[in-house]
Amino acid sequence: MNPGPLHLHVPEPSARPGHETDFSYLHLARAGEARRPAVDVSPVDTSDLAYTLVRVLDDDGRAVGPWAPQIATDRLRHGLRAMMKMRAYDARMLIAQRQKKISFYMQCLGEEAIAVAHALALQPGDMCFPTYRQQGLLLVRDDIDMVEMMCQAMSNERDPIKGRQLPLLHSYKRAGFFTISGNLATQFVQAVGWAMASAIKGDTKIASAWIGDGATAESDFHTALTFAHVYRAPVILNVVNNQWAISTFQAIAGGEATTFAARGVGCGIASLRVDGNDFLAVHAASLWAAERARSNLGPTLIEWITYRAGAHSTSDDPSRYRPGDDWQHFPLGDPIARLKQHLIGIGAWSDKENDDTQKELDAQVAAALKEAERYGSLLDGHIPPLSSMFEDVYKDMPPHLREQMRQAEAT
């Protein structure tokens, strides 16, 4: 047989603008279908869970199957409220960028459940190494001031990191939120190192590493898996598969005909593929992985299946490369709508409560932005003093920087 000349395979999404995406490539499972092994399962025995989909909420909003978590209704209400706050915050900040009050913004629309439900599964002292789409890790907390987060986005005089970073690249050690780099994937290895340190010191804290589907192609991702496995590091390795890295479809990152969770199993790491738009599944899987880590059972890789409903950033226009109404057809729906449906179903929420909460949160976010604006912004010249540019390069400013600071101030 003559197979003909060789040809290069370049993956494509199932639809481009003007057509409808065929989401069958996601290989979904029914809610309740995936089994829940004991936390001391051998990593190799999670192989099937890396190819199926852990789901709890069914199409009617009922919690079904072995992963349905024991979680107090108040926690769920808190989670719903945090997701709604996250969405209101994003919406307001997007407008602020269009109004030129901030230079740049990235929303996490459609992915709110992952950061919020995961955060509720961690303990004080644990450390997340996030990307720029896990703002929910901060907004779910009562001890992080929304006004201060907005001041960071404005790079104004109240910005706790002195205008040194793009909007969203927060640093909150006290909230278990590692400084975001802006370079991709580097933090995935660092999280493993942090977790190794906790083990070296005989501590009880665990790390939670974050990466997107696109950046798993970086060598740092594979390096992190190797180190996490070798040293059995107490770390949760989160891969947020939102299908798109700017215009790069997840198949170009290596997701075609396989899963990102499968990478974990190949490295000897217990791995799960989970419905990231299912608040209950996210919480349950996070608790499972956290218990494994805290019990010296080592790392867990979790691929969260979700959809980046918005643009990559305010500099991006997704209508150029994917169908404009894709999210409406995404089979895992909207995480906020799904948890709301569940809570109403169990009599723990109502449409009126929802409307009241929405109004309250919108007002709260608007008031916070108004207050943040009082401290000025990068764009109206209310920026940190010139000398701050030269501080913190080293712990103590060396002579050459003192000299350069003098020169900068003289011109």
């Binding site: 450390m127 190494f129 706790p160 990191i161 002195k162 040194r164 970073q165 690249l169 640093s171 909150y172 050690k173 590692f178 400084t179 780099s181 370079n183 580097t186 290895v189 660092q190 999280a191 493993v192 190192g193 942090w194 977790a195 190794m196 340190a197 906790s198 083990a199 070296i200 010191k201 790390a207 060598s219 740092d220 390096t223 992190a224 190797t226 180190f227 070798v230 913190d392 390069v393 080293y394 712990k395 060396p398 002579p399 050459h400």
Partner: protein, 337 residues
Amino acid sequence: MATMTMIQALRSAMDVMLERDDNVVVYGQDVGYFGGVFRCTDGLQAKYGSSRVFDAPISEGGIVGTAIGMAAYGLRPVVEVQFADYFYPASDQIVSEAARLRYRSVGDFTAPITIRMPCGGGIYGGQTHSQSPEALFTHVCGLRTVMPSNPYDAKGLLIASIENDDPVIFLEPKRLYNGPFDGHHDKPMVPWSAHPTSEVPEGHYVVPLASAAVFKPGTDLTVITYGTMVFVSEAAARETGIDAEIIDLRSLWPLDLPTIVESVKKTRRCVVVHEATRTSGLGAELVSLVQEHCFYHLEAPIERVTGWDTPYPHALEWAYFPGPARVAAAMQRAMEK
């Protein structure tokens, strides 16, 4: 006081710091059970246990990346990159992460890590076991770059680096591990025991960072150099009879500018010597600094002696290596004008 080679002095520094500070950990490829391909960590795992001294996968990005995470937790990792020629996969972690963690988080997180790397040639290592990449580090704001030239300084600088709260690139000229090599590769090797700098205290001491040493005082001209080239320059001075003042930078950046300026203003002539390739090397920065600070004191153009702008060759190693003859010629040119 004991007599130590540079290897023993480096090991002693890590031993002292592992003993003094529970937060110090030491790891890298072949570093644990075996004790390192150059034996710098020999015996440390047996003494401090495998949770503080251990082997790492062959992944420089992973070694440095995990060290940053450990440092963010509160440890003081001392990691080894087996040859400086192998650091490139760790570039992103060094340049974008370790060097800027303090800055970008306003001190919320810091990376007090020490990255040890054997560097330099003269061991028939070919182009992947001989490089001197110091200029790639001195160009990066937020890093400290250090290179000792003898056992006493090696121990004191390594302890100072581990105790320092900034990330430190610690380059070890591997040709000096076992003796003060002066570039005469065809002569018998002189052991460290024959040199006064091999007298090393067994306990804790520091050689401060950003402080140069006047390795040899002199009046005719100033040689600014570091690492292996300190001894090569000393040989060149001896053989020419030129009374050179040899400055061993020890810390390449941030560096000790006053010592350089004071010396050049005194001798009025200057030769810059390094083993690394020439173009955009650290020598270019040193020449600029001398020009900016000493121009009206100079009697002659500043001379620069470096490796050629080629990969480090295997067979032609000694044609590449800037040995005593090349340094001597530059000194003579500087004296003639």
